[in-house]
Subunit: 212 residues, 2 copies
Amino acid sequence: MEYPSRTIEAAVEAFAKLPSIGRKSALRLVLHLLKAQPEDAHRLAQAIVALKEDTRRCEVCHNIAEERLCGVCLNTRRNPNLICVVEDIRDLLAIERTGHYTGTYHVLEGLISPLDGIGPGQLNVESLLRRLAAAPASEVILALNARMEGETTAFYLARKIGAELPQIKISSLARGVSVGGELEYADELTLSRSLLHRVPYASFQNPNNGMG
Amino acid sequence: MEYPSRTIEAAVEAFAKLPSIGRKSALRLVLHLLKAQPEDAHRLAQAIVALKEDTRRCEVCHNIAEERLCGVCLNTRRNPNLICVVEDIRDLLAIERTGHYTGTYHVLEGLISPLDGIGPGQLNVESLLRRLAAAPASEVILALNARMEGETTAFYLARKIGAELPQIKISSLARGVSVGGELEYADELTLSRSLLHRVPYASFQNPNNGMG
């Protein structure tokens, strides 16, 4: 007998399927819930069900939404002419947390990865091109990671958008030494990119390019 | 906007109430569930509800059970004359995992802690005394922690049982250097107890005192 009941075992198995939760942590969570107020346990269960039943993808940008459009697309104070392309919701949230981006998003829900058999067809690329064709944005920011998949996806999107809608400005995130980072601890690739893409000193004082 | 929808926010809040899960881990779990198969999410939600609705405490030993009695008490191969008193289910599971204990348990669901206002009345002490009076066990093992609360509880139980049922043997867990532990890294208290309660060398070869 590893667990005192099948109910406990089922709950441990279910929790242990979550990322970074092993069977030991799962058991700790289960024992906590056994002692917790029934309302708290039911609230958690309901919240999990609601995640699957009450959320959907924004019809424009594929962000999580509760209605047809997400909070960003519904917000009339956001600039629809500036579209930031991100891999997933996590990256969107990271940019939102800066509190400085006032444009809109397009969530790809993945990156092109030939090794994993993921091509543009499995991502929200078609909807981005349709969106741009219907209402050409002034700028598309490719905020993708600097690894193989991110670079491949950025290259593909830049070429595709450039061919169909050459008037749209395409940019990507600046790479460089982190603010507050020590030069000596930066990796060589980051430091060399940071030198290559050095910016006029004054631009730090007036960073008024689409940021609020 | 910290979260893209109220559904996400509610789920993050609910997960962040669990022990050792902060808001960042909670968000990671929520984003995982958004992508997961609906069956997996529903299985987790159902398991949580079942924890509250399908489990109860064993009427004899207060272990988690699905029926009137728990798996240990129902098991006719367990020795009911040997009762191991533990603080909570976690300790019971730790002892079960050794695979060497063949007696039964009594789960106190806490320890006496005057500082926290917890007295014997809030614990399953009365039911232990009733259980022993109805069917006197040959031995009660007090497997409680060696901190203030554990020692206080052990002292209280030993005196209470000794007064009412003096024929019952009362023992407690051996304290000492862990098996495989280096002497030089053991704390002084553990090492001195280990010396004080030294055992005849032969007893290691024949540890047949209630263990299977």
